[in-house]
């Protein structure tokens, strides 16, 4: 700060060239990010009635949201889901990345692609696929139930969320694995040589070289995963029409609820308020994770 104010030359140069470089990104950022958010904030202050049209209601939508049991039902569900699913998925991703990086597997390239492939399958397709596989009447589970004489139902109200967890984990483990794998590949080879000279075992290499190197990417993947799971929408939306009695309501996740409010209930203002509150909540959580992640990185 002080340096800038005392050096007029710097101050003069910065706006012209710097802003020019920033412009393409800046413009896009303003148009596709800032303006929509401001617009949402604006419409969240209005109520849209079928009879009577739009009226300004101030913060009523927010007040109402914080009293809405359906909102809490969905919000708590995704928080619990995130707390369970994200650690499992990231652990799997780390183990896979370590396995690929160990150079002890044959056909690692093939393996890498196969693990990554589910990420390329659209959520709609994968949900249909898993829906058929886990369905109890004719799917894989149906056959297993028949063979074993059990009555396990992956889409009962109590188990639907776990089934969605499986679908999401299947879809995103490969993506996270690639991030971890890239971090592992970036480790200078000298460290391994030094470790070999010191006579370190493979486990020691993993613990003292590889895992510490993953910390940065772990922060990134945790943030991405939290953002992703908080926005859960496709899977429950498709499953609700695919299987009956799955317990999926129109407010099953906050995003599904916002969608129902806006497009079935014509309550766009209320939906906007919900979306903004969820966005703020996600940002806070992601920020906490980031601060913690950075702190740990500096501690070591």
């Amino acid at each position: 700060m002080t340096l800038q104010t005392t050096s007029p030359l710097r101050r003069k140069r910065r706006p012209t060239t710097g802003l020019l470089f920033l412009a393409p990104f800046g413009l896009l950022f303003i148009f596709v990010f800032i303006i929509p958010i401001l617009y949402s904030a604006y419409i969240s202050l209005f109520q849209n009635k079928l009879i009577g049209g739009q009226s300004f209601v101030g913060l009523d939508n927010y007040v109402r949201l914080f009293k809405d049991p359906q909102f809490y039902d969905g919000a708590i569900r995704v928080v619990v889901f995130t707390a369970i699913q994200v650690p499992i998925m990231l652990l799997c991703a780390i183990l896979l990345a370590l396995a690929v990086d160990s150079l002890r597997l044959h056909g690692t390239r093939f393996f890498r692609i196969v693990v990554f492939l589910p990420y390329a399958v659209p959520a709609i397709v994968s949900t249909l696929m898993w829906g058929f596989m886990l369905g109890i009447r004719y799917g894989l589970i149906g056959n297993l139930n028949d063979a074993l004489g059990t009555r396990f139902d992956p889409f009962a109200p109590e188990t639907t969320m776990a089934s969605i967890g499986i679908m999401v984990t299947w879809g995103f483990t490969g993506y996270n694995m690639l991030i971890f794998y890239a971090a592992l590949r970036a480790i200078p080879r000298e460290l391994y040589e030094a470790a070999a000279i010191d006579g370190a075992t493979e486990m020691q290499v993993v613990r003292n070289i590889k895992l510490p190197a993953l910390r940065g990417s772990l922060t990134v993947t945790v943030i991405f995963s939290i953002i992703g799971t908080f926005q859960l929408f496709n899977e429950p939306n498709i499953l609700s029409s695919l299987v009956s009695n799955s317990g999926i309501t129109s407010y099953y996740t906050p995003n599904l609820y916002a969608y129902t409010l806006a497009f079935t209930g014509s309550q766009q203002g209320y939906a906007a308020a919900l979306a903004l509150v969820m966005a703020a909540f996600t940002i806070v959580i992601a920020y906490i994770v980031q601060i913690r992640g950075m702190k740990n990185a500096f501690d070591k």
Partner: protein, 438 residues
Amino acid sequence: MRKTRIAAVATALTAVIALAGCSGSADEAPTAGAIPTDEPITLTVWSWDGTVEAAVPGFEKKYPNITVDVVNAGSSTDEYTALDNAIQAGSGVPDIAMFEYFVLPFFAIPGKLTDLSVYGADELGKDYVEAAWGEVNIDGAPYALPSDYGPAAMFYNQKVLAEAGVEEPPATWDEFYEAAKKVRALGGDHYITNDSADIFLLLSLIWESGGRPFQVEGTDVKIDFTDEGTARAVEYWQRMLDEDLINTKITGWSDDWNRGLNDGTLATQLIGGWFTSTLPERAPDAAGDFRIAELPQWEEGERSGAENGGSAMAIPADAPNKDAAYAFLEYFTHGEGLQARIDEGAFVPTLSFLEDEAFLASTNEFFGDQAYNEVLASASKNVGTGWQYPPFFSWARSSYEDLSAPLYNSGEGTLAELLETWRERMTEYGNEQGFAVS
């Protein structure tokens, strides 16, 4: 659409005034019949009913300056969302759009549709089945013309019923109940039918039974699930559920449903007549086994019925070319263009169509060469009149699905309690939306 309008303005100066007149604000009363013939007009029609296309060539021949563009803007809810967005945005509104009957009040009551009586649509009422005409009339004015009709009927798998010892299709609900027990006795997954909280199924039973739970007058909505007809239907269906005579695990339109219909574990469907067009591809193995009968009756010898599905076409209040739009609307739903659609399989609730001999005599191998149109025509005429949907029925429907989960999942509560909670939710929502709901 806007471009063609500008082009039109540029070509014919005299016609500009007429055009501006009919593409102006919704408040202006359009004058019927004043379709300019010397300038190009493009009509945009939003329809997921494929038969509309069949009426286009004839119409374009009759009006050489009009081009009709039939667009599938999505089915049902997808289209309504798109239309509502277009109306709110004030651009891209089609000239004609397709609506299921239950959604008409949602658009008509807040003034989003054109009152067709200025075009003389009132006159057409006598040509339609009374119940169908009643559904397109909101507060005494026609806002749409019926284009498709789905009288509730019973599709039954004759072979499965015979195996269960039911020789004649159940003619009353008491017989249906007895038949359900016999089908259940076949063991395994055999059920007489399925229901996973299908609101239209329940409403069609209520409708047939004489219940009229929704009464709408302008923005006043009355909801009451305790009238005699409603109570009778609800109690009956409750008994069917309690005695495990209905498969609640299978949801309509799912893969499971197709399989159940195909392998005969679902012996009947209580559904709209339009089901004739899709059942053959869903249950190819059951070819020749299915027959169609009118809904079982509440009292022996009665002639009552209900509607379950069907659609109408309307002109949005903001449509750009209203006069031309009405000309086409009348043409393909009622006038000369109708026959072309009928040839493509359209089922319309006009009296002349329902009495057409060729139509009544037509058969289909899948239904064992039964002249099933006779049944559907009769069912259409028997549909009870005076039924109304609340203007927020789309919302109400998704609310019902949420509320019905405990009952249909784990048997918690009763149908009557479910409807009462639903009524409370609808009252709350409706009042919030500016209606007077009680």
